[in-house]
């Protein structure tokens, strides 16, 4: 699912400053590295105070009903988070008894196919990327998740240069082929 026609994105990207392009890509790679290193407090610091982090449920629908394949804003979702609720999730992970991550999973976030378009608000960009997330835990449990992330990034005066304002995670599975989701996308 794309938020706008690819051709329009292509034109937007052609007009994009290469320095902005590189800065946003580096931000996304840095953020992924923090998640894989379990540096969750540092990752949390990259989130805007008004962040909305959403991952809808996906279902199998007929082509005619394509528009209904994702759960909506008043429905259930894997994630529908504010900064406070992400904070609660992170506090839980540091209690020492969050058994789904004690011992920790080994994860690797692969982020690619990055397309960037400036938004109407000055200094805000939409970055769409593909992800592949590998998780291995305990002795042999291995899970693989693929999908798309549609992010809104805001340029700020900080070492990372941006903060994450919105993330919409669209997973390419209807029945989740894993026993849980104990990490962030």
């Amino acid at each position: 699912m794309q938020t706008r026609p690819p051709l329009e994105l292509f034109h937007a990207a052609r007009g994009l400053d290469r320095i902005v392009q590189q800065a946003i890509e580096q931000f996304l790679f840095y953020e992924a590295a923090l998640l894989d290193a379990h540096s969750l407090h540092e990752w949390f610091a990259l989130l805007a105070d008004d962040i909305r982090y959403v991952m809808p449920i996906r279902t199998t629908r007929s082509v005619r009903d394509d528009a209904q394949q994702y759960s909506g804003p008043r429905d259930l979702a894997y994630f529908d988070e504010s900064k406070d609720s992400i904070g609660l999730r992170i506090r839980r992970l540091y209690t020492g008894s969050a058994w789904s991550e004690e011992p920790r999973s080994r994860t690797r976030h692969f982020v690619s196919n990055i397309r960037i378009a400036p938004l109407e608000i000055s200094g805000e960009y939409e970055a769409t990327s593909a992800f592949l997330l590998y998780r291995n835990r305990a002795e042999s449990q291995t899970d693989l998740f693929a999908g798309e992330r549609i992010d809104t990034l805001r340029c700020i005066d900080s070492p990372a240069g941006f903060e994450l304002v919105q993330r919409r995670v669209l997973i390419d599975q209807s029945t989740l082929l894993a026993n849980n989701i104990s990490f962030f996308f």
């Binding site: 991952m55 809808p56 449920i57 279902t59 199998t60 629908r61 007929s62 009903d65 209904q68 759960s71 909506g72 008043r74 429905d75 259930l76 979702a77 894997y78 994630f79 529908d80 988070e81 504010s82 406070d84 609720s85 992400i86 904070g87 609660l88 999730r89 506090r91 839980r92 992970l93 209690t95 020492g96 008894s97 969050a98 058994w99 789904s100 305990a138 002795e139 449990q141 209807s174 029945t175 989740l176 082929l177 894993a178 026993n179 849980n180 989701i181 104990s182």
Partner: protein, 444 residues
């Protein structure tokens, strides 16, 4: 198929797999493939299985694809408003008839050779019938349909012609199910969205835990309780008052009595939805059910065999079995129709952040059951008898508001009832009476 006889010269028979009087379980019940095949016939085919909520099918033609154990079914709203449950299998070559999760249809056309059925499962068109299927009597080749009964919005189905009506099947547990379903005068409706995910564990770990296991909450789920910020002092759950109930029909439930349902929901959401008053819903329920039943908190329950729920967060789920060592969880959540926007949003956020595969509570359950199942690959581990003796011999009927309950939420009374009923069904070697075509016609 083995019955009372040993499954294998080296392993015990079904009668020895669970000892109700001593509270002991053989872990073979969680791992043995032959027992699993027998369960499909003797447990699942005999029982009423919850397949969908009426709210999933608001209009005629709406369908919701579901499962009865491993059998795929289509739950479909008829033109007259009734609900049918059709086996999702074409009568020609057995192809899956409906290949999407939900939607609206005028009928179902098989994608293999184009056999077409109406919403009631009646075969209405066979391509090339005049040329190549001249003797075909279409009326004999309708899609098979299960018996259906609806209990307070939940749609149950069975293949068992002899199954008692659902109210009798629920029996002594109906009172406790109603404690969950009767809290609002307006009734409940499902929030949109159904979580579906796989856990490599036996179905009985999940079903028994929701029937009986308040105990694990203290330790398995300590982390979200430690991380939560709440107004006022943190409650000590180990000291909560409450009860547990063992049904004669394998169902089980247990609960605390507190005023903390909505403060905990707010705390577990990580945020308080503006305009929501946590005292309001409790006052509403108290007016309807009286103080004791209104104060029931974290009421966990399993309707035998695989329909489970948890009040306070109002999560409802079925543990569809997928072999002896895997389940597919289908979970959704209910919300009070009388709730205003703020209460509805608080309910939505609190359940999706706790009881989803990504939820702060649910994640750790998946971890536990997976690891037990892995341990049971060991032949010594499978021979090691397990303890289910918690709370044996406690007095019943202590609180007149909770008939038949023992007065301790921390017990395995309901677990023993669950396994005793499982064992009774597994030892019963009479064939399940199939639904006849006459009954299917009657259902039309």
């Amino acid at each position: 198929m083995p019955t009372c006889a040993p499954l294998h010269p080296a392993v015990p028979g079904i009668a020895d797999l669970f000892d109700d009087a001593n509270g002991t379980i053989s872990p073979l019940i969680y791992s043995d493939p032959a027992l699993y095949e027998l369960e499909l016939e003797r447990v699942f085919a005999r029982s009423w299985l919850m397949v969908a909520h009426e709210g999933h099918l608001p209009e005629p033609g709406n369908f919701f694809v579901s499962y009865m154990a491993e059998d795929p079914v289509i739950v479909v709203r008829q033109k007259d408003g009734s609900v049918k449950v059709l086996l999702n299998q074409c009568r020609h070559r057995g192809m899956k008839l409906c290949r999407t999760d939900a939607g609206k249809a005028a009928g179902f056309i098989c994608s293999y050779h184009g056999w077409a059925y109406d919403l009631a499962g009646k075969l209405i068109n066979v391509p090339l019938q005049k040329r190549s299927f001249q003797a075909l009597d279409k009326s004999q080749w309708n899609v098979r349909q299960a018996r259906v009964e609806i209990y307070k919005g939940f749609i149950f189905a069975t293949w068992n012609a002899d199954a008692r009506p659902i109210a009798e099947y629920l029996g002594d547990a109906a009172y406790y199910l109603d404690c969950l379903l009767e809290r609002s005068p307006a009734g409940y409706e499902p929030l949109g969205g159904v979580y579906k995910w796989r856990i490599p564990c036996n179905w009985k770990f999940a079903a028994e835990q929701f029937a009986s296991d308040m105990y694990h909450g203290i330790f398995s789920h300590s982390s979200p309780q430690m991380a939560m910020k709440m107004d006022g002092p943190m409650p000590n759950v180990a000291e909560f008052e409450g009860g547990q109930f063992r049904s004669a029909n394998g169902h089980g439930t247990g609960f605390y009595l507190t005023d903390l349902q909505w403060p905990v929901r707010v705390g577990q959401s990580g945020e308080h939805v503006p305009g929501f008053d946590p005292a309001a819903p409790l006052a509403r329920v108290t007016e309807r059910l009286g103080s004791d039943r209104a104060r029931m908190t974290a009421q966990h329950m399993t309707v035998f065999p695989t329909f489970s729920m948890l009040s306070t967060f109002d999560t409802f789920r079925v543990w569809h079995p997928r072999g002896p060592d895997e389940i597919e969880v289908w979970a959704f959540a209910m919300v009070d129709k009388a709730a205003g926007e703020a209460e509805r949003e608080q309910a939505r956020l609190s359940v999706l952040r706790t009881f989803a595969p990504s939820g702060t509570w649910e994640q750790d359950d998946g971890e536990n059951w997976v690891e037990i199942q892995r341990v049971l690959r060991g032949s010594e581990a499978r021979k090691t008898i397990l303890n289910a003796q918690m709370g044996m011999g406690e007095a019943k009927d202590v609180n007149p508001n909770f008939p038949g309950a023992i007065w301790n939420p921390y017990a395995e009374e309901s677990a023993r009832g669950f396994y005793a009923h499982w064992q009774k069904l597994m030892l019963d070697d009479r064939p399940v009476t199939p639904l006849t075509s006459a009954e299917a016609r009657h259902a039309d």
